[in-house]
Symmetry: C2
Subunit: 466 residues, 2 copies
């Protein structure tokens, strides 16, 4: 245990649990609900419980530059003591931050709206798209999650499929997501195949008299199971959508700010020829401070203004949020966290690929930078999701004081999205533990690798592609 203060605990754990049951909405789920963790302190990629036990954090992408980074804390604390007010007054932090964010993006994405959460950002993106186009229909991907406000539940199959008797909003159209494993093997040109489905759905919408306002997608699907779109898919989709008078919204709430390693924004993985019309940001932007941003073109911004309706967001773009946002950008550069994400991400992916050669339960390893998914399957040929096994891995890792989660439509994808200061040694540790847990599990289940030769070939092909 490092220098951890226990004074942060004020109640017995049992009391905390009882009060939570009494006063916090039961829809707000807790990790490991049978035996939840009480975290009282965190630093870098580590979290500490009330007994001072250290957990390696592989999941908190929000604590982007590391939990409680001193530069970020200092920037926030200083500005809190000086001024915290709304954006109806001039303030340098607001404009300097907007300028800095803009510099990370293609030139035409030059106008910012500061809001408080990814949900507020995506809702505003829809408002911008609808006002600019005068259209209403939205195309979204299968398994997508874009936020918790009403307008976003409508475009989030990941959420609305949880509702018994859910009704699809008639203005929302769901297209297939590129099955992460399948397209890599079966299709010579998956980008075109899946983009063609967007083209076809647009034609259907037009036939019914609808008009496309936007296509929205996470640049890499996160809750959907760490799914990376085939290169060229966004370009082709954008072409179809623009032709229909709609706009392309890239949701970078989970995956932006250098996480993918090779690029600052995940949509840039598609190539320099792709520029979305609207980009939304969130989670990591303030290292945990509630803030987010929508960036768009001058044309979209002017159309939004011309509606005659002001946009005022009470907290959005306040000097404290902007000071924190600036500090996060500074730390990313100063500590080369994007470079670290690339290097450690590759190292982690390689370690996991080796595990795949060893463990029948691992059906796929995929990801970019420090955004990596390990899909567990009961059968590599049938791709049967190993949902219970994924849960078992998560629980066993927790006993080893490692925090990992499972997601995807079948909750069978182990999800790595750690703070960006994650190290090679951290990767070694978690992979070593996963190795042991999978070995035990496979032994208990009597699972063996089906055909060593095939597996190796497939793994080699993948590496060639990266």
């Amino acid at each position: 245990m490092d220098n951890i203060s226990m004074s942060a605990e004020r109640l017995e754990k049992k009391t905390t649990i009882d009060l939570r049951k009494k006063h916090i909405g039961p829809s707000c789920k807790i990790f490991f609900s049978q035996d939840p963790i009480k975290i009282v302190q965190a630093k870098g990629q580590y979290m500490y419980d009330e007994k001072g036990q250290r957990y390696l954090d592989c999941i908190n992408n929000v604590a982007h530059v590391g939990h409680c980074h001193p530069d970020v804390v200092k920037a926030g604390a200083q500005q809190m003591g000086l001024l915290n007010t709304n954006s109806r007054f001039l303030h340098d932090n607001l404009v300097l931050y907007a300028q800095r964010l803009q510099a990370t993006l293609p030139e035409q994405l030059s106008v910012c709206y500061f809001v408080n959460s990814g949900s507020e950002a995506n809702d505003l993106a829809l408002r911008l798209a609808r006002q600019y186009t005068g259209h209403r229909d939205v195309i979204t991907l299968e398994n997508a999650y874009h936020g918790h406000v009403s307008s976003l539940i409508d475009i989030s199959p990941y959420k609305f499929h949880q509702l018994s008797g859910a009704q699809l909003n008639p203005f929302v159209h769901v297209v297939s997501v590129f099955p992460p494993r399948k397209y890599r093997r079966d299709q010579p040109d998956p980008a075109t195949a899946y983009a063609d489905e967007v083209r076809d759905i647009i034609a259907k919408v037009h036939k019914k008299g609808g008009k496309i306002a936007a296509f929205i997608a996470e640049s890499l699907q996160s809750c959907g199971g760490q799914v990376i779109p085939p290169v060229g898919y966004f370009q082709q989709v954008a072409e179809h959508v623009h032709k229909a008078g709609g706009v392309f919204i890239a949701d970078e709430v989970q995956v932006g700010f250098g996480r993918v390693g090779t690029n600052f924004w995940a949509f840039q993985l598609q190539g320099e020829d792709f520029v979305p019309d609207i980009v939304t940001m969130g989670k990591p932007i303030g290292n945990g401070h509630p803030m987010s941003c929508v960036v768009t073109t001058k044309e979209v911004a002017e159309a939004f203004m011309s509606s005659g309706m002001d946009y005022f967001n009470t907290f959005g773009g306040n000097p404290v949020s902007c000071a924190i946002g600036l500090a996060v950008l500074d730390v990313i550069v100063k500590e080369d966290l994007q470079g670290n994400a690339m290097r450690v991400g590759r190292y982690l992916a390689n370690l996991l690929e080796k595990q795949k050669e060893k463990h029948a339960l691992i059906g796929d390893v995929r990801g970019c930078g420090l955004f990596v998914g390990v899909e567990l399957v009961r059968d590599r040929l049938k791709l049967t999701p190993a949902t219970a096994e994924a849960q078992e891995v998560i629980y066993k890792l927790k006993e080893e004081h490692i925090l990992l989660s499972a997601d995807g439509p079948h909750r069978n994808v182990l999800k790595f999205k750690p703070p960006m200061c994650f190290t090679g040694e951290d990767a070694d540790l978690v992979v070593e533990k996963i190795d042991r847990i999978l070995t035990d599990l496979e032994e208990a289940l009597g699972l063996k690798l089906p055909d060593t030769v095939n597996v190796e070939n497939e793994s080699k092909k993948r590496k060639d592609r990266h």
Copy 2:
């Protein structure tokens, strides 16, 4: 000038303005757009520009316990350095804060959802209401404003009337708001008269096959022009709405946390026999920190959970927000800010009533605690809104370094909602300046009081009622 650091300015004012034009959405309006103010620091009820000039702040209700209150800054800074993570881990701040908030409310309002803004709170309130009731239709008041996300624009006539060719969402029904001046003079029982309209609209909705999910109202209408509902109105409305299977949502985003002086929540002005089903909070809750809360009953919370859909809000209820929320509650008690709001609010209202006896332009003075509106009219009998004159007062006050705003459907209501540490001397100063500005204005316009006797009588009647 107090001990104000000028180091907070990093750019020439002109550069700040140019960058803002380039990078901030033009729908985000600035105060005094012809000659905006650059604020670099603030303390208590005062704000300071880049030249160190002090402004008396009569409008920033968000800086509830005073700008940059040291206790709040300290609580936030300390917790930022210790831990800032999501509510999927147990944390004492979350449950202690929920418990403290609950203690300010009627017993049955016991379950909290922590979110990031008033908009997120009101959107969630609608989701709770719709899930609990299984109904969809919502009744809202004329001139209401409930937030900026899509679902709330729909129930905010204050906003959607700004849109050219706005279409009312077919599930939204707007009822008349009690005209603040008219009902006090003309109607023996305004509560029943206006509640009956709700009853009638419910009947109409039923006839068309609709079903009422909720009635939503600010406990006192703020953007609508500081309008106070007649006592008994909420009880009667709640009765009609409950009979229809709907719930009552009290929006306390602007007016909660002791601002009304006599009570901690503004809905409590209606009497102890009134309990809303859902209360939403926002702006002042974190003294500027982006946070907010929805509180409801166990029954509503359980129905929401039974839908099968989790509710996760990335930043909502994080330990930093909760530490700040707790500090705000502490300061309100420690400095008796609710008592101050009552005393200074009454003093301010009395000063303004005296001004009304003197100035033909003042049509009405109304409010509770430190939430006071002064309605300017060109003609006291016809109630012609003095919109330009209200703007003139605001601009002249700015020259005197006093920040006040005008709102209401005709933007002719001077709006006092200062930090709660506002003093009697502050009230003296602003009223003295208003007196002078109105004197000059009336002279220029040739306006005189129509009939001194009537005015005095009316004013006396009002006082008897308070």
